[in-house]
Amino acid sequence: MTQDDLAKKVGVRRETIVFLEQGKYNPSLRLAHDVAHALHAKIDELFIFDDDMPEPEDPETRVVLVD
């Protein structure tokens, strides 16, 4: 799939896909989801963020999203 095809599929300009590939643009969650969906992949397989956030020391402060 070309950059142009992907851009058309997710409804953005081709330059946005170019900057996404270069890691210079942080997409919205919606766009990340759409790109992942278009490429039949998971978001965390495509977008890797540097984990510079410290883990909470107290386990009780962790937010439980799913039981």
Partner: protein, 131 residues
Amino acid sequence: MRETNQRNLSRIITGMLMGVSGLVYVIMTPGEMMIGTILLVAGITFLLSGIIRHTKFDTGPESDERSKKIGAYGLSYGWLTGLFFMFVLFWLDYLNIVRLGTQIALALSIVVLALSARFYQMYLFRKGDIE
């Protein structure tokens, strides 16, 4: 995509109509140049903008989340630059260092606001994102 083409087509038609009316106005009223010139310049601007947008964005959307974000940030930075410029202008005037008339001060502020916003947008577009 059809929406983009429709918008560009209306830009081109509006530009042509304004340009022709401006030209006719200039020819029909030899003494009065102002209204005709304004119509002509606005018409040419519309026409060029429609043609350029049509050739540049014909195969995709004119704006997306990145361009909207950068556009908004560019305007915000431009506004801050304008505020700083007016602040400096005020103190220069207050301290009698530079004395500008209202008309020139306003014209300069308009130019600084418009150009700085455009400059920030161009810089951010080249950079890729606002961060």
